[in-house]
Amino acid sequence: MNAWRRLYAIAWKEATQLRRDRLSFGMIVGLPLVQMLLFGYAINFDVRGLKAVVVDEANTTASRDYIAALTATQVVGRPRALASGAAADAALRAGAASVAILIPGDFDRRIQGGARSAAQIIVDGAEPSIQSVVQGLVAVPLNARHGMVQNNARLVEVRTYYNPERRTAVQIVPALIGVILSVTMVLFTSGAIVRERERGNLELLIATPVGRTELLVGKFLPYVAIGLVQTTLILLVGRWLFNVPIIGSLLQLYVAALLFVGASLALGLLVSTFAQTQFQAFQLAFMTMLPSILLSGFMFPYDGMPKLAQWIAQLIPLTHFNILVRGIVLRGADLSELTPQLLKLLAFMLAMFGIALLRFRKRLD
């Protein structure tokens, strides 16, 4: 009875303080909104209109046709014609172009011969994902009009399931729920205990009969509610601005979100038991974010990562949540098909909370 009363009192105090802290309160809504807009509009894996230059030393019908065919893919914009290979190098170096197309004077003969490469496409490898996109240009037939070179591109049909228009937003927005939650949730709780330690409140609080579990759970609960509010916000913005459909069950999506929020909050609490100052807490919280974003399958496909990265990714709650959320939102999967992920999230949450509880002592030494 007393334990519940104390638990409620801690949760109420935390919520009241948060409500009065205008900046933090604003962050609850502001952070997801800004991140949604930034990620949703800026991240675009569907690359189009790369700046290109062309050096056409052949200047024949075939070479002009080839350039037109490349431009028609829309991967590169209308290429700017340059006089020499050196000028193309300079353009790449200066960042004025990401792609350079070099067509030698004996282009037509090379097509016929087939022994040497007929044209060269130079790609700026410094920028991520451009290279893989430009690989697609290789498939463009060198001499489409005359059909003289056999090209097998047409023999293979590529279809994209679950996102037929290949819109990046559809891939990004569901995963953004996890990214945004892992940023805000860890940040919120990482400061929860340290803040009271810094302000001197903790000394008074731990000199009372309040239990460790009551204290930590009490600090945990208000943020669970905030996590669910943020989830709702991201889903609504995803629906209205980016037209992302939710194919699976909304209730199941919230169950998954609840577990993920719990896992992230528990991680934040653990961070809070390590840090001595709020600044340290923020640094530690930040340290957990980068691996989450990079290794969770949000940026790069999990299957394509090296083994070591995959092992690390298994320890990141966002990895499992991404599978859950993409499954439910885009593929209409049922939670019963995704129990391993649910269990991993649950295990992660309990482990983090348990360690935090063991580390937190009602003492100053």
């Binding site: 009192a9 105090k13 009241t16 009065r20 001197g200 008074l204 000199a207 309040v210 009602k362 100053l364």
Partner: protein, 317 residues
């Protein structure tokens, strides 16, 4: 274990706390009687806060033990904390909560039921002149108001024991007087109050007193007894001897302390074998100082000076 086996609220034996190479509290023995105001007197760094923190289980003793309200603090700190009110040196209630909310929160933490808590809050607001400030955020209040709120919060569960760590260090003299009136009211109602201070006037008001210096208990007793039984002569020279002579007096063997009070000099002279006072007298005559030395009543400051000059203290320092 019975909670009222003895009539002592706190019994500590050999209580010691080390922080690395520093010994903050060094083998302190304490017997704090119930229903009394017991003072910890000592300068900053003498181990007052560390002692209080050990008594409420916030710090583990490096050696020794403490029994508080019949419970071993090291073994069952939460049993002790249920019956204990603690006021930290720095205001540690929540600045962003109102007076009423802070009290409500602390009351809930101590397990007070809804109605009992409401009644108690009303009582405390009236008692501590905070009624008009009920909806004021604690962070916007004056030092005296915060101190009243802190005491109100520490007593919300009507604890048997109050541990107050320099409660009056940040308030004006009038607030200090009012605060002490409240402490006496609490003690009269049966609460044991352990209060640390570096103000001599406050120490003098305690029923009993422990003087701490560099972590050691150097004197203990009722303030009046301590002043009465001081192991030194306190002498008054009714004249300002000037800086040069004053320095020479202070350097005389047996002279423990010299303090100028206006145009008078207050000299604390060790009693030892009885020779110190006579020798000082001869020295003054030789220096051409003919004004007689008058013995006067010792005050707590003298007790403090003598206690901190005790041989065992000097040897270890």
């Amino acid at each position: 274990m019975t909670a009222t086996a003895t009539d002592a609220a706190i019994v500590a034996r050999g209580l010691t706390r080390r922080f690395g190479a520093l010994t903050a509290v060094d083998h302190v023995d304490l017997d704090v009687p119930r229903g009394r105001i017991y003072g910890f007197l000592g300068p900053n760094g003498s181990g007052k806060s560390t002692s209080l923190r050990m008594l409420c289980g916030l710090l583990r003793p490096s050696a020794g033990s403490a029994t508080v309200l019949g419970f071993d603090v090291a073994k069952s700190p939460d049993e002790v904390r249920r019956h204990l009110g603690y006021m930290t040196q720095k205001f540690s209630l929540w600045d962003d909560l109102t007076v009423g909310e802070n009290l409500h929160f602390m009351g809930s933490i101590y397990g007070l039921g809804k109605q009992a808590l409401q009644r108690r809050i009303d009582e405390l607001l009236a008692e501590y002149s905070l009624a008009g400030l009920r909806n004021q955020r604690a962070g916007t209040m004056s030092g005296g108001q915060r101190q009243r709120l802190a005491l109100a919060a520490a007593t919300i569960h009507e604890p048997e024991l109050l541990l107050l760590d320099e409660p009056t260090s940040a308030v004006d003299p009038q607030s200090r007087r009012d605060f002490w009136d409240r402490l006496f009211a609490l003690a009269n109602a049966g609460t044991t109050v352990l209060v640390s201070t570096h103000y001599m006037d406050e120490a003098e008001r305690c029923h009993r007193l422990a003087i701490l210096a560099e972590g050691r208990l150097v004197a203990e007793g009722a303030p009046a007894d301590l002043m009465e039984n001081i192991a030194a002569d306190v002498l008054r020279l009714d004249r300002d001897p000037g800086v040069a002579l004053r320095a020479k007096i202070a350097a005389q063997p047996g002279v423990l302390g010299v303090a100028q009070i206006g145009a008078q000099l207050r000299i604390i002279c060790a009693r030892g074998a009885g020779q110190e006072r006579a020798r000082l007298h001869e020295f003054l005559l030789a220096a051409g100082e003919t004004t007689a030395l008058e013995p006067i009543q010792a005050n707590l400051e003298d007790v403090f000076v003598v206690a901190t000059h005790a041989p065992h203290n000097r040897a270890a320092a």
